[in-house]
Symmetry: C2
Subunit: 179 residues, 2 copies
């Protein structure tokens, strides 16, 4: 069948806390057999928390693969099978202390489609009210506020490399008519 | 040091053709020791190929982790150390048959910052001329043309889940002033 690949074998090679890795074998439409490396991840959720003053809350945290601090939207990993809306509301509260009146779905993005099963759901949170941040014991991050116009400029100027942050800010900006 | 994590151990757990996986141990700022699962990837490049008629070339291909055909921008993996501009021009030619007069950098996105080292560089290609597609032997994909306004709508309507495709189309649309 055109463009289809048929799995003919699958070997688990790593079973971690965050990811599982498998090495599959698949048959292509021309009959050729190829290896497919596959990273299984439960998926995540990120939030554009927009204050009544037109500011986005973002978080700064150390990102191990890049050995540096990155500025991103608040986000978190789903438990396997967890509802992404509930997870998004929880992460928003934990990381920024915010609750919201409106929680609007912005769609999903698949970070790296060739070998990674992760899906990141995106939300726009408005009507924010604030309580205390409740981070996990081993979680360290700083919350900052950035005007949404400035956040869009930061995306365009390549100052926010995180992909989910770029997608969700640019989508929210289009919906809100930000120049 | 605030937000910093110090690596204190690293164990390779998988050495594949596309990815390598390591299980590191890191010390947090409070002295706690945590595991860090890490997927190493050489990075990639994607291209927004815009015709003189205002159409974007996209590719449809089977994406193994989702067991379905996705529509995306032309893209490819870098060899370790390869220049992303050269790789982008090569992938554009291979996947769509196009060469371009102008190849404008749109910035980089990091697909999944918590555990994945991949960086995807993005380009806008204009002044296109066409020759023949030159796919790898085990590569199957169909090229389609979509008006840039329609491609933006497809991103906003959640019809293009691939993250790099969303980022690059929305960035290009802002630069080009697409409503």
């Amino acid at each position: 069948m055109h463009l289809f690949e048929k799995t003919i074998g699958s070997e688990p090679v790593f079973d971690g806390k965050i990811i599982k890795v498998k090495k599959d074998r698949a048959e292509l439409e021309n009959g050729e057999i190829v290896n497919r490396e596959l990273v299984i991840h439960p998926g995540g959720v990120c939030i554009v928390p927009l204050t009544d003053q037109g500011e986005i809350l973002m978080v700064k945290q150390f990102r191990y693969p890049f050995q540096t601090v990155l500025t991103e939207l608040p986000a978190g990993k789903l438990e396997f099978g967890e509802d992404h809306r509930e997870a998004g509301l929880r992460e928003l509260k934990e990381e920024t202390g915010a609750e919201c009146e409106k929680f609007e779905y912005l769609g999903v993005c698949y970070p790296s489609v060739a070998y990674l099963s992760e899906k990141i759901h995106m939300y726009l949170a408005t009507g924010l009210s604030f309580d205390k941040q409740h981070l996990d014991e081993d979680e360290f991050l700083d919350v900052i506020k950035v005007k949404i116009e400035d956040a869009v400029e930061m995306v365009m100027n390549n100052e926010l490399p995180d992909a989910k942050t770029q997608c969700a800010i640019l989508k929210a900006a289009r919906i809100l008519g930000i120049k």
